[in-house]
Amino acid sequence: MAVEMSNVVTEMRQDMTDEHSKAVCHAPLFDGEHKNEKRDLL
């Protein structure tokens, strides 16, 4: 159920590189298929 953002906002975003995805103190998400499980919850 990801939010479908209008292009007004999506244009501000760029796809994160793998490097950027590491530049964060992670909050736990479920990995792989379980990440989907968590996202299904939302």
């Binding site: 939010v3 953002m5 975003r13 103190c25 992670h26 909050a27 736990p28 990995d31 379980h34």
Partner: protein, 706 residues
């Protein structure tokens, strides 16, 4: 809005009067930060300015990076101050706000973490979410210097569309809080959760899934119960493998003890270095239960080491437990914990070679540094268990333990000369509750009264300093100030601690307080329409949504723990209202749990108790007599998760336990000796004065009704 009518740079902003260490870290930023308060939103409304919300915590490495790059930078601050009302939130002080906006970030980006960056309308409706943002475009991410002008331009020219996006976000957020229809749960869901854990189990390295790997102790607590119920040896094997791998890995501080927050790799080698109180609590609980289940001394020793760390480094003069230690020191992540081969040689001299071999020290460093700036650093980790090392060196496991301890002390002394990481010294009721539970359980399992004494002192401190006269709790204490109304986790985790502490000390005050707080929690957090507990009280600040969360994250959810508290208090006191509330909770969350059992392992550990069979063990005897102590001590030594333990002290004429649990009123000793009654549904077997007969009866009664 007149964009020129803007205050210039500030030297001390409004965060200077905060108590939060995280907010104070930003009090001298040139950014004109507000704390989360009405005034900030009023200004945003009056001046039609969007709100830049930044959420983090004081021990978070990437929060420091963003602070250095952007929030301490005058160019970025100027842009922020010109256009936004800027608000800082300490996620540990306000988990309610953090939870809501982290959910927004997950919905909008599929990612979650800190620092959390949210841009929203003056009425708190988010339209942009991200985590760390560099000053200028990097890592494929837009930079603050480009982002702010873009947002400004869009706000000035296309505000209606931005408001539409915000509305879509709110709609999606609200859908996350919609209750699903009631359903029933049965033991099939336990099997489904077990299979999901089995599927994601890392056979090579232990743990579940791939990097980053979190300890998620509640997965292990669930598996231990699954093993106990189903005699499924693989469930226990997964627990043992994971606990050993984490204890041997770099995620463990081999010199000062305690666990770092998570591993960035699947091998448990390179951690994120912050040390959180809740991880120490939850992991020590997992090691204690594994010790109870297996008798493996290495698990018991690890729990004891964690307690050594917490009691040495994380305990305040008032006896509360501090929140966390920083990942960084001297501006560098992990610096306090790294060693070069040269340092090891200098400190250990002729003993260095064996240490270098044991802990895999390498002249060039033993891990791949993300920053690749320093190549000679090592993280201490063991590749083998104590027993395995003993075989290699042809010595006993105890000799290995002594040898490692000898080296450890020398490194520990040497490390004292280093600059210590910052300590977040606020005292949080919820995390303290977890630590109290762990210490109390550790005291029972390891037969160490000092742990229960520390837990009792922390409990007394919270009741004295974080409880109002009308019986409500506060969430945070720091610098003589208790503040912030308690959330669900504060109540449930502290009640959990009180129940464990009652079973460790049989101090009736702990049980009475647990019952009082449980009733307060039911009054202010319970959803009368659908069952389950909201995260915030009915008197709390209105936010975008009032979450009612069931799934477990790094910590178990408040509802998962509340379920077990209700069940245990219901068994102890024979209060059927509690049992009915628990049944209502299970029905309310059943559908969500069936959809995602892996996300609910603590809830399912609690459900395991609900499924039964469960037992009440009442020991009648003089509290101070050796035979009573022996009987109670043996009950704490073994893994019996679905039993509650009561003491009816004979040295008191009319003990208070008989008012809380009337069914113990008529229970007497045999020949003035400590006497145990093993009961199921408050119907008891013939009493016994023999400890082994008591344990046999308990095991039989817990298995005969399956």
């Amino acid at each position: 809005m007149n964009m020129n009518n803007v205050k210039p740079k500030v030297t001390r902003n409004r965060l200077a009067n905060a108590k939060s260490p995280y907010l104070l870290q930003h009090a001298q930023n040139p950014v004109d930060w507000f704390p989360w308060e009405d005034e900030a939103f009023e200004i945003a409304q009056n001046e039609n300015r969007p709100v830049f919300l930044s959420i983090g915590y004081s021990t978070c490495h990437w929060c420091h990076v963003m602070a250095r790059e952007s929030f301490e930078d005058r160019e970025v601050a100027k842009l922020l101050n010109e256009f936004f009302v800027c608000i800082k939130v300490d996620r540990e002080e306000r988990p309610d706000i953090d939870h809501i906006y982290m959910t927004v970030c997950q919905l909008m980006t599929g990612r979650a973490g800190w620092p959390l960056t949210i841009i929203m309308t003056p009425d708190k409706q988010p339209f942009f979410a991200a985590t760390y943002i560099p000053k200028t475009a990097r890592f494929g991410s837009i930079g603050m210097m480009e982002l702010i002008p873009k947002i400004k331009s869009l706000w000035m020219t296309q505000q209606n569309q931005i408001v539409n996006v915000a509305q879509q976000t709110i709609n999606a957020l609200r859908k996350t809080t919609v209750d699903l229809p009631d359903d029933d749960l049965d033991r099939v869901v336990l099997k489904n959760a077990y299979r999901a854990l089995l599927d994601s189990f890392d056979e090579k390295h232990g743990g579940f899934g791939s990097a980053p790997k979190f300890p998620t102790a509640h997965n292990l607590l669930f598996l231990l119960r699954y093993w106990k119920r189903n005699k499924e040896e693989k469930a226990l094997a997964m627990v043992e493998k994971t606990l050993r791998a984490m204890r041997q890995g770099g995620i463990y501080d081999h010199v000062g003890f305690g666990f770092h927050r998570y591993s960035t790799d699947e091998r448990w080698l390179l951690p994120h270095f912050e040390k959180m109180l809740y991880d120490q609590a939850l992991l020590s609980l997992a090691y204690i239960e594994a010790y109870q289940a297996t008798g493996n001394q290495e698990f018991g020793d690890t729990a004891a080491e964690i307690f050594t760390y917490v009691l040495r480094d994380m305990t305040s003069a008032e006896a509360g437990f501090y929140a966390a230690e920083d990942a960084d020191s001297e501006g560098e992540e992990g610096k306090f914990y790294f060693w070069t081969e040269q340092e090891i040689n200098e400190i250990l001299g002729k003993d260095a070679s064996i240490f270098i071999k044991l802990f895999n020290i390498n002249q060039n460093g033993n891990f791949v540094d993300q920053a690749a700036s320093k190549k000679n650093r090592n993280i201490l980790y063991l590749e083998k268990t104590r027993s395995s090392i003993a075989r290699d060196f042809d010595i006993s496991p105890d000799e290995v333990k002594s040898l490692i301890e000898k080296f450890r002390r020398r490194l520990f002394d040497a490390r004292k000369a280093r600059v210590s990481p910052h300590k977040d010294d606020k005292i949080l009721t919820d995390w303290n509750g977890l630590m109290i539970a762990a210490l109390a359980k550790g005291s029972q399992a390891l037969h160490e009264p000092a742990y229960a004494e520390a837990a009792q002192k922390a409990t007394d401190f919270i009741l004295k300093s974080l409880r109002t006269r009308d019986g409500h709790l506060f969430h945070r204490y720091r610098d003589t100030e208790a503040a912030i109304p308690a959330n669900l986790d504060d109540y449930t985790f502290f009640i959990w601690g009180l129940i464990e502490l009652y079973e460790a000390t049989f101090n009736i005050n702990n049980l009475e307080t647990a019952l009082e707080l449980n009733n307060t929690m039911l009054k202010h957090f319970w959803d009368e329409n659908r069952g389950g507990f909201y995260f915030t009280p009915d008197t709390g600040e209105p936010l975008l949504v009032r979450p009612k969360q069931s799934f477990d994250s790094a910590m178990p959810s408040g509802n998962s723990v509340a379920l077990l508290n209700l069940l245990r208090l219901g068994r102890i006191t024979a209060n059927h209202d509690y049992a009915e509330k628990a049944a209502q909770m299970i029905r309310a969350f059943a559908r969500r749990i069936k959809q995602s059992p892996l996300a609910h392992t603590q809830f399912l550990a609690s459900f395991d108790f609900a499924l039964g069979p469960h037992s009440e063990v009442v020991v009648v005897g003089n509290s101070h007599a050796p035979d009573t102590q022996k009987m109670l001590g043996m009950l704490g030594r073994y893994f019996v998760p679905n039993a509650v333990i009561l003491l009816r002290p004979t040295e008191e004429q009319s003990p208070r336990i008989t008012r809380l649990a009337p069914y113990v009123e008529k229970q007497k000793t045999i020949d003035d000796m400590a006497t145990a009654y093993v009961c199921v549904n408050h119907t008891c077997t013939a009493p016994t004065t023999d400890v082994h007969t008591m344990l046999g009866l308990l095991n039989r009664r817990l298995s005969e009704e399956e």
